[in-house]
Amino acid sequence: MADTLTPVLTDTWDAEQGWKLATYAARGGYAALDTAFAMSPDDVITAVKDSGLRGRGGAGFPTGMKWSFIPQDNPKPKYLVVNADESEPGTCKDIPLMMGNPHVLVEGVIISSYAIRANKAFIYIRGEVVQVIRRVQAAVAEAYAAGHLGKDIHGSGYDLDVVVHAGAGAYICGEETALLEGLEGRRGQPRLRPPFPAVAGLYASPTVINNVESIASVPAIVQNGAAWFASMGTEKSKGHGIFSLSGHVQKPGQYEAPLGITLRELLDLAGGIREGHQLKFWTPGGSSTPLLTAEHLDVPLDFEGVGGVGSMLGTRALQLFDETVCVVRAVLRWTEFYKHESCGKCTPCREGTWWLVQALTRLENGEGTEADLDQLLDQCDNILGRSFCALGDGATSPVSSSIQHFRDEYLAHLEHGGCPFDPAKSTAWAGQEVTA
């Protein structure tokens, strides 16, 4: 039985200058590279398959299986693209990971590229995090200078070049095919699948796209063994993952634990909900995952456990809201976000998110009628599963789940003729500003 917290990727974050190659190397960094080069690429894929690692970007697709879909008989070049476009509301794990420990990502990129036989890899980082981009740029430069990148790495005969690419502000580019469009210098609009990127991705060549945390998990799997990784977590959700607690909690922050930990356990570690308040609702994995409530404190936070209560593990972005927060206000704001970020390619999402905002605004202002709730659910029904990509689906999650759990609160807005909550009571400084 693993410890309650299992720092692996976060383990160097308290090191002095943890972003430097010297710091990473002093802790055994880049040793996994030689272990990998002593294996055949297929054996590296097998190790990652055996570890049970599932994608850490939200969808949870088995990473090793994704790699094995690359058709090695295709004569075109193969590419690895790291999705570092972390933008899902509530998600804040890849950014501190790249800031504090960029070399574990670079080492993971090298091993993963070797496994899929790519000689060129890209790290696509959202543009709005300049210091994180500096740290990754510098880590790549240091890795070249040390011979971990470039030609004939460690005398293995294997060559790899890595390009750090800054995005320019578009949530949709977290969707993997939209990301490829951005990386090809186009508007970030998703592509029709099939063909899947494994067959025709970047430049219509076989491409693997993985989340930062997935790729960063690879060096320890190779170095310590698949069984080591699989000794953490639950039956179908193996390994360690970073859980991000934010909102009305005493100690918000990053907690790296085996998958399957519960919110109750995490809250115990984080000192509970802020003093004098109670948990009202939370997202298990970002705003695109249906809301849960205090009833769900003991749900195992793994793919199956959260799925079993009608939500999704997503990116383990636990946004916690106490009883001072109006759920209609929260949902309206998320919906405005989806409307703003809809790429406009497909009608259900482009028009649907616009209409959701109209209906929710009316309700938040205490206008409209109870029939508007049914209309909202009907609108969700016309977006969910009918949109081109998952952005539209995600936009419906907060709306439908909030009506499911908090229908009475929507009605209270109608009875009250407006929002019955005082937003001042929810702020980080609420109750502290009164001085003589």
Partner: protein
């Protein structure tokens, strides 16, 4: 704000960006960042230059430049202040911070505040979406550097210090450079500020501190059974 012409050095750097990629057009996003770093916004001249280098039409470049929110058709201040008003930060006080700054600077969303007599630098204001720092809510970004755990008062102090030309440091990063300088880093030209700031902020370390106190670690690799060899023998179809 005046736009310096795109000189030979800049045109050379634009070509250099395009050459990083197997297909030149992949360079367009960083190339547009470089245009902004030189000209302070996306200019018609910058669009034409990118189009000529990539052998695509100016309309195609414009189509990209108008899609991504970091590209500005009109100028921003020396310091572009973004207040996160996505749900979590909004609830934690981002709405109040944004409203205070609008009032204090006497501007609306996505506008540049007037340069008063005595101000040596300008600031602009925008409400932004989630910037992946929710454990530091409410979050303000200045030129895309983190200003964590802000209040309306601290945000006003920051913009006033910036307008006065004082040095201001990110709470989790370097001394703030100008917006144009930051855009140059995004174009892939490092500026040497990488070693400023901490490895991680306090919230990032919350779990690690507890693990250290309680002696919790990941499992000892030596204590886990070596089953890979057996599994390898079973084959890899899948």
């Amino acid at each position: 704000m005046s736009a310096a012409p795109l000189d030979d050095k800049t045109l050379g750097e634009l070509r250099e960006i395009a050459a990083r990629y197997p297909e030149a057009r992949s360079g367009l996003l960083p190339m547009l960042h470089l245009v902004q770093s030189v000209q302070g916004r996306i200019t018609p001249e910058g669009v034409e230059a990118c189009a000529a280098i990539l052998d695509i039409s100016p309309a195609e470049v414009n189509g990209v430049a108008t899609f991504y929110t970091m590209y500005k058709k009109h100028g921003v201040g020396d310091y572009h202040v973004g207040v996160c008003t996505n749900t979590l930060c909004a609830v934690m006080g981002g709405d109040e911070i944004f409203s205070r700054l609008k009032q204090h600077l006497d501007i609306g969303n996505d506008e540049v505040a007037a340069q008063r007599q005595g101000d040596s630098r300008t600031v602009s204001l925008e409400h932004i979406e989630c910037n992946a720092a929710c454990d530091y809510a409410p979050v303000v970004m200045v030129n895309w550097e983190f200003m964590d755990n802000q209040t309306p008062e601290s945000a006003v102090q920051v913009v006033e210090a910036l307008r006065a030309g004082h040095d201001v440091s990110s709470t989790r990063g370097p001394k703030l450079c100008t917006w144009r300088e930051a855009e140059r880093v995004l174009a892939g030209f490092p500026d040497g500020r990488v070693d400023e700031g901490p490895t991680a902020g306090e919230a990032s370390l919350a779990g690690l501190r507890i693990a250290r106190e309680r002696g919790w670690t990941a499992p000892d690799p030596a204590a886990t059974p070596a089953v890979e060899a057996a599994q390898k023998a079973e084959g890899t179809d899948g």
